[in-house]
């Protein structure tokens, strides 16, 4: 983690105990899915690691494969329509692809918690929010129901729900969007996981609430010394939370490095394009994508660099597929012409 000292995020400079073993270890992850007879490729060979306590961002346009990558980590994709393969896929020491149903269930919600994008739909509408936290604690911490209830109330007030003791008995629809995302965070961290996967946790929220939720996320991360995989198409969000960033395009990683390195001197034209399209606070919603052209989807046949049709730097060499290579130590890009990227 060479870029940690100069990270955009100052707090990470003093991680208390840098546990060396990776929490996440992914090598050559490929995910195919079947849709009406056709085979699509959502993820086409992705490798990365996340170390204990590290916050890693996964960024890319819609359809680039971020969610599919994250869901693969816990094998949460529908079995019947998807095929997940990898040379290695380990989360918190568990071999995810070889794991039994029981050890997979222990991993999910135990060593790894997940928060999904839409808090309106990610909480069960017919179940009290307290019970949705209690079931995680009971399942993974082996506490008695009474003890779990106490912890759930504590956790609710920890994530900023006022009057937690009473509100624990309420149903999701009785909370605002921001509060629901707080509750969802509480359910995800209830078992003190080593890894928190957050898939666009703030996208559905207004700007002020977004910022509060990110603060809470950072706070929890430091408190619980969790590793975080934060998915977002908003580089601003990534910059605020993450030590390191993974940039995804067309089911592949096209750039990785410390947030500060990647933001200061991107090594891939796609990243540079994303950086230019960061939504601006003074003109909310003004920019969706400043990169011209259409993104690659799972059914696109890709030969060579997938970015060719949209790249202003494209050259004959780009018909060969570029691999991730060092731009500077610890900062890699998959582009033949990364030195020309501005």
């Amino acid at each position: 983690m060479s870029g940690a000292e100069t990270s955009v995020r100052p707090a990470s400079t003093a991680l208390p105990e840098p546990a060396p073993d990776p929490v996440v270890e992914v090598a050559d992850l490929e995910v195919d899915f079947a849709v009406r007879g056709a085979i699509g490729h959502a993820v086409r060979g992705v490798s990365f690691q996340i170390r204990s306590g590290e916050a890693v961002g996964l960024v890319g346009e819609s359809g680039s494969g971020k969610t599919v990558t994250a869901l693969s980590l816990l094998r949460l994709l529908p079995d019947r329509t998807t095929r997940v393969r990898a040379r290695s896929l380990r989360v918190a020491g568990v071999d995810v692809l070889g794991a039994s149903a029981a050890s997979l269930a222990r991993l999910r919600g135990g060593a790894a918690g997940v928060v999904f994008q839409d808090p309106l739909r990610a909480l069960t509408p017919t179940r009290r929010v307290g019970s949705q936290i209690v079931e995680v604690i009971e399942r993974h911490s082996g506490r008695s129901r009474t003890q779990a209830r106490l912890e759930a109330v504590e956790l609710l007030s920890r994530v900023g729900i006022p009057d937690a003791r009473n509100r624990a008995r309420d149903y999701p629809h009785q909370f605002s969007g921001g509060q629901r995302q707080r509750i969802l965070l509480a359910t995800a961290v209830a078992s003190h996981p080593r890894l928190l996967i957050a898939d666009e946790p703030t996208t559905a929220l207004d700007v002020t609430t977004q910022s509060q939720i990110l603060d809470l996320l950072l706070d929890l991360q430091q408190d619980l010394k969790m590793a975080v995989l934060l998915i977002s198409h908003d580089l601003g969000v990534i910059a605020r939370v993450c030590d390191r960033v993974l940039v995804m395009y067309g089911g592949r990683l096209v750039e990785t490095g410390s947030t500060s390195d990647v933001f200061r001197a991107p090594g891939h034209p796609y990243t540079a394009g994303l950086l230019r399209s960061i939504p601006r606070l003074d003109r909310p919603g003004a920019v969706t994508s400043a990169i011209p052209g259409e993104a690659v989807d799972g059914f696109t046949q890709v030969v060579g660099c997938a970015f060719v049709p949209r790249c202003s730097l494209a050259a004959p060499v780009c018909t060969e597929c570029p691999e991730l290579e060092d731009v500077t130590p610890g900062h890699q890009a998959a582009c033949w012409r990364s030195e020309l990227v501005t």
Partner: protein, 316 residues
């Protein structure tokens, strides 16, 4: 929540009032006047006049309607023209029989449905395919044909069960259940086809919801995910379908009871129509409307249990 229930009850009373207008005027819409209809085609003018006097049919329509309601509210539904028995007695005799039949059929239908719909949890599983086939085939078999087939096989060919008639299962359980078996299964099969189709769809939809994925991501086992997170949301649309099916089942009771010579409300109503038994038809229509209203209110009450969004209003 109280407002919700009050509005449902008020709606039900409105429906009943509307239904009563239909029940009352149905004979007035037919060509000829009610007295002639009751008397039949071969009656003399004197007979018609006598009937008109007897049933007070010679007043204005409105006066007649008001008079009828006064009687209804006093529990007096008139007297059967055909059998001379008070209509309330006829209903008291036949409704329990039919309600028993509908209850038994619903139990049969729900049992079938629950087993088959577990297939809905895994799209494409064997059980799911059976459920899908079932909901298509079961719906397209005419109930009367199925009933006759059941009689031919189970009653006549094998002689296991009585071909028809009714023995109260409350006084003699074994014989009663035997007399109930064929009609209840025939009826239940039809209902279960409808139920299965909806419950399967409903479960398939819910199992794709974000909150089901969240529940799985909490490490819950699949049965816990279904029991704690998916079952209530999946039941919400299903309850509506059960309500509709049960409330319209009086109509199907006519077919089933006719096929199995069952002395229930359905048979009574069919007979009343063919014999132009004025007051019985009127009361029958009211009973059918009341059944719809009651079933709807029960469905609304079930929502209260299933859906906290109704129980506790919108924002908190």
């Amino acid at each position: 929540m109280r407002r919700y229930l009050l509005s449902r009850v008020a709606g039900g009373i409105g429906t009943l009032a509307g239904g009563s207008v239909v029940a009352f005027f149905v004979f007035h819409l037919l060509p000829g006047n009610p007295a002639e209809i009751i008397a039949g085609t071969h009656a003399s003018a004197a007979q018609v006049a006598a009937i008109q006097r007897e049933f007070a049919l010679n007043q204005s329509l409105v006066a007649e309607f008001v008079g009828w309601w006064e009687h209804v509210l006093q529990g007096n539904l008139g007297v059967s023209v055909v059998s001379n028995v008070p209509v309330s007695h006829l209903l008291a005799q036949t409704l329990p029989v039919t309600l028993t039949l509908i209850g038994a059929s619903t139990v049969v239908a729900l049992a079938f449905t629950l087993v088959l719909s577990l297939g809905g949890l895994r799209k494409g599983s064997v059980l799911d395919r059976i459920a899908l086939g079932w909901s298509v085939v079961g719906l397209s078999i005419p109930t009367f044909w199925l009933g006759i087939l059941a009689i031919l096989l189970f009653a006549i060919h094998w002689g296991w069960l009585p071909a028809g008639g009714y023995i109260s299962p409350y006084s003699s359980p074994l014989a009663g259940l035997k007399s109930l078996a064929l009609p209840a299964i025939t009826f239940g099969i039809y209902m279960s086809a409808i139920f299965t189709q909806f419950l399967r769809r409903s479960f398939l939809d819910v199992m794709r919801e974000d909150f089901v994925r969240t529940a799985r991501a909490r490490g819950l086992r699949e049965w816990q995910v279904v029991a704690r997170h998916a079952s209530k949301p999946a039941m919400i649309p299903f309850v509506t379908v059960v309500g509709i099916a049960v409330s319209t089942s009086l109509g199907f009771a006519m077919v089933v009871e006719t096929v199995f010579a069952y002395p229930g409300f359905g048979s009574l109503f069919v007979q009343a129509i063919t014999t132009r038994d004025y007051y019985v038809v009127q009361a029958g229509i009211m009973v059918i409307v009341a059944a719809v209203v009651v079933a709807n209110i029960l469905v609304d009450v079930a929502y209260l249990f299933l859906d906290p969004r109704i129980r506790y209003g919108r924002e908190g």
